[in-house]
Symmetry: D2
Subunit: 340 residues, 4 copies
Amino acid sequence: MSTIAQLGVAVIGIGKMGADHVRRIEEVISGARVAAVADPDRDRAAAAAARIEGCTVHTDPVAAMAAPGVGAVLIASPGPAHEAALLAALERDLPVLCEKPLTPDAEAALRVLAAERKLGRRRIQVGFMRRYDAEYIQLARLLADGDLGRPLMLHCRHRNLSVHPYFTNEMLINDSVSHEFDAARWLLGEEITAVRVYRPTPASVTDTGLSDPQFVVFETDGGVVVDVEIFVNSGFGYQVQAEAVCAHGTARIGEAHGLLTNTAGRWGGAIAPDFITRFADAYDREVQDWVDAARRDEVTGPGVWDGYAAVAACAAGIEAQRTGRRVPVEMIERPAFYGR
Amino acid sequence: MSTIAQLGVAVIGIGKMGADHVRRIEEVISGARVAAVADPDRDRAAAAAARIEGCTVHTDPVAAMAAPGVGAVLIASPGPAHEAALLAALERDLPVLCEKPLTPDAEAALRVLAAERKLGRRRIQVGFMRRYDAEYIQLARLLADGDLGRPLMLHCRHRNLSVHPYFTNEMLINDSVSHEFDAARWLLGEEITAVRVYRPTPASVTDTGLSDPQFVVFETDGGVVVDVEIFVNSGFGYQVQAEAVCAHGTARIGEAHGLLTNTAGRWGGAIAPDFITRFADAYDREVQDWVDAARRDEVTGPGVWDGYAAVAACAAGIEAQRTGRRVPVEMIERPAFYGR
Amino acid sequence: MSTIAQLGVAVIGIGKMGADHVRRIEEVISGARVAAVADPDRDRAAAAAARIEGCTVHTDPVAAMAAPGVGAVLIASPGPAHEAALLAALERDLPVLCEKPLTPDAEAALRVLAAERKLGRRRIQVGFMRRYDAEYIQLARLLADGDLGRPLMLHCRHRNLSVHPYFTNEMLINDSVSHEFDAARWLLGEEITAVRVYRPTPASVTDTGLSDPQFVVFETDGGVVVDVEIFVNSGFGYQVQAEAVCAHGTARIGEAHGLLTNTAGRWGGAIAPDFITRFADAYDREVQDWVDAARRDEVTGPGVWDGYAAVAACAAGIEAQRTGRRVPVEMIERPAFYGR
Amino acid sequence: MSTIAQLGVAVIGIGKMGADHVRRIEEVISGARVAAVADPDRDRAAAAAARIEGCTVHTDPVAAMAAPGVGAVLIASPGPAHEAALLAALERDLPVLCEKPLTPDAEAALRVLAAERKLGRRRIQVGFMRRYDAEYIQLARLLADGDLGRPLMLHCRHRNLSVHPYFTNEMLINDSVSHEFDAARWLLGEEITAVRVYRPTPASVTDTGLSDPQFVVFETDGGVVVDVEIFVNSGFGYQVQAEAVCAHGTARIGEAHGLLTNTAGRWGGAIAPDFITRFADAYDREVQDWVDAARRDEVTGPGVWDGYAAVAACAAGIEAQRTGRRVPVEMIERPAFYGR
């Protein structure tokens, strides 16, 4: 492996997440460099590129992909811009890491899926970074080993300290529970078939009508029942927990740990303030993994099918949330191209 | 308090539970003695009374209640025998501790309720012993204090090592989930309004058709959503956990604790084998509390209304289990006599 | 077992501890009643006896022992009064439960020991209540089972929220570390051979010259090294922990447990405020056990030899504390009468 | 930051640790590349360099330091080779990351110290990687914040699954406890003044005479008492724990965490098998930090003074281990050049 063979990455979208990925590629992970950046706000893009030698600045994503030295694309723009950028990257046969959601709706996801199938090989990885979290990986291995027997239920907790005031009921499904949709699919190796949403008396109702917390129960084609507490304005911190109940035992991740203190009548530890703190290592691992695969001309992480499946489950989730009913998840049959 | 003023108890039903209560009254708690025992199997009753001075032996519960020195009744006979024994005790104006269920169905519970109201004072306590468990009491106090804000959700786990082969789907609701029905009502101070039961692919299906585990979600008139994992043949031990999710924080009980070991690549502790081990102190505290109140001529624990509410929720639970639907709980309006 | 055969106890010394034992015998445990109380302050004794039928009031311990119905003696008077009371009880051949310390010094302990040997059977139990704590019992069983191999080290933590202002360096050994002296002897089945005391820079020095915390290291005749952190004005709560390090693993007790909360960036639980809270069940179990044995005319708990061993280790501990040196523990050879 | 400005590192010593650092620099961290490798075994060096473009291979450490593109030196050769390599690197004014121990004895450490002082700026960082562990960093911050008050004691546990058969009593101090010597100095900001070693009856005695476990107590110039259980053939896994006891509370790190399972009567988790697993992130962070500083022409991590202090404490520790006595640590006065 040589320092000359570093992968040149075009980063599309230089918001909070995109800027963090620029920093990650330049300062944290090995084997890659930022070769081009693109953002509608040229100043923002230029600021991110300022200290990076040879990094070109663009407002047009396609121009960034065509810049000298670009061998891969990281898409961190808002969801509605994803489809065009993904299709452009596929045309250039470039490996892509696309932040979730793949696209805002299932139809667009299917168009991306069709384009990738036409290209004939997997080029797109979706940013489901929990698959790179050390504890989730431990849990996945344990389930794969089968020592605890077949999984039967999955109990999930997803709590945020708080969210911005314009957060909506739909975002609660699309931005938050979508992580559990993907994590469940990945941990269980099964597809989601139906979703129901319970709305307890809310702790708070915001101006957008957000009813918080909610309790989501969904089922898989393997008969597993998954429940998710989603509580986005919990006020006490960021917690992500999951307990798999299997035929011969259970396994749980996400308990608070690390530093324990005894003070003034209390023992315990701190709760992480946000997902960036909690999943910092997972983000690093995700991007490193994608870079390593891209340099071997491969894509190995969660792909278009996973992105599509999450979008389809979210659509059912929002319908379930609205109606209070059990809503089946509608998906096309899985193409052999995306064979398990 | 004098040793002469000890409360004489008639114990009705000398099965496993009744015999244990005889031992408890004689050897563990203070202020009471067993004055009479009754069981259809006279030998079994006689064996329990053998070493107790002055304890009379009966096959007829009513005769036991009429025996010399009897000032209170503990009913540990099978559920179908409860109504007659309860009505007989009420006729004699004796304080009663009745093992759960109060009665097998809601109609019988309402007849007992009517009899107690006619008598004009509370004489019956139902054996919901979780209300006497140290951890449950801590949780109840925390919720009552209100420091964590209003409760919104309650996540419950109820796991047994195993149950006998003739355990049925109905018993899973009536014998197991009924504890969570009462615990939720007590912790929240709210009534249950509807029940739904999910049946994941079972770990095992027994000859009786028992599908295990199941996942029960119920709602309260205060808008709290309660979920219960019930797993009666878990194979790994007895665990009862509860986490209350409130507006400003959460609180959890039932984590394993006690002795921690490091051995051969593993750290951790033991899981209790059964409820008698886990709730030993709760049983002692329950009976002591009932005796103390009876000697003051009072009944202070969970009463007929609580027994009726659990029976009504169980009926809805079994219907929900059978149909897969959300089933409303039907109850009479709460009489002022049983005012909160 | 009959209510007539209840054991009549004379309680000697009605301070905080004695009054609590009166309450325990009357209200908590079964099989015993308080037949007589004695205290130099007659009013205090009379107040404790007020509601107890047939309980006589005395200022002279010996008169209390001679009162009608007395079949056992519980000594809760200050240490210097123990020897006389113990000898008087032995003369009457009464079973005794004597709060620790057995006596203030080793010489007095040896005189009591001689008297009991002369009597020819064990009559005295010393109040080392940790032997009755559920977690200590779990640890003792584990060590006895031998699954973890031979014990090699024992790490102990003993922390109080605070102690009264007249607490001294000597009391830190005699009143606090003496518990670890006995617990180690009991858990290991070995005698203590030498003691050393480290004094870190103190968190506080009181008017009595108390240097707090201190760190005590002692050795046993089986070659086990035991360390004790003793921190009596910790300011954060009462904690007693012990970890046995064995050839094939370790085992630890005393971790905080029970109710866990998530609030405002912190997860964790409460720390008990004092030993009465932490060891409430142990005290109940201890007295119940002693009563049960006494009614069988036996003494089964920690005896005079254990009381003497703790007093001897304390003497060495205080010398070690004063000199900063390793001080051997001087003891007579263990009489066969007190054979293990 | 540019990809051209990558730091070229000469790695001296390509044993297990050196080879791992080569991998880390090339594949894990950013901003550096391996420009030269040196090992007495040329084949081993060549194998490590094989896939690295432009990396030269040497048997002479000094030749490697003089190779084209070398701007920094990482020393991973055996301890006796450190002094010569360090002095050579200082002559070339190259920033150095030197695996511990700095040198095998205090005299050599002082010669290195003198050379660095003569050079006039800090060039050497010593590989105390615990300072880069996330939990140790949390503990250090907590102590620095002062919320818990002044530290008074530090309880440490250091357990290995097993060590190789030629491990000696001396290595137990030099290779194992030396980590606690440095961690204590770093956490407390104090120097070690005296050491004592207790040897409990060993779990095992190896052919080298290794008595395992041992219990080390040392004192600091700030009056803190530190105890270390060192158990290198524990047989159950790798555990490093530390609890700081402060005036107003305690704080502990190194508890087992991550995946929790319930199986067959037990709950708990796994114990890491070795330090590479436990401290993987710390090693990455350490080397990244050193590279980042070197590129700014600085050395910011633990330096020569820290290496010297650990060597001096180890010398006292070995003497204490041999004699069973309290052995004062002899050190020169801290030069202003290494001002805190």
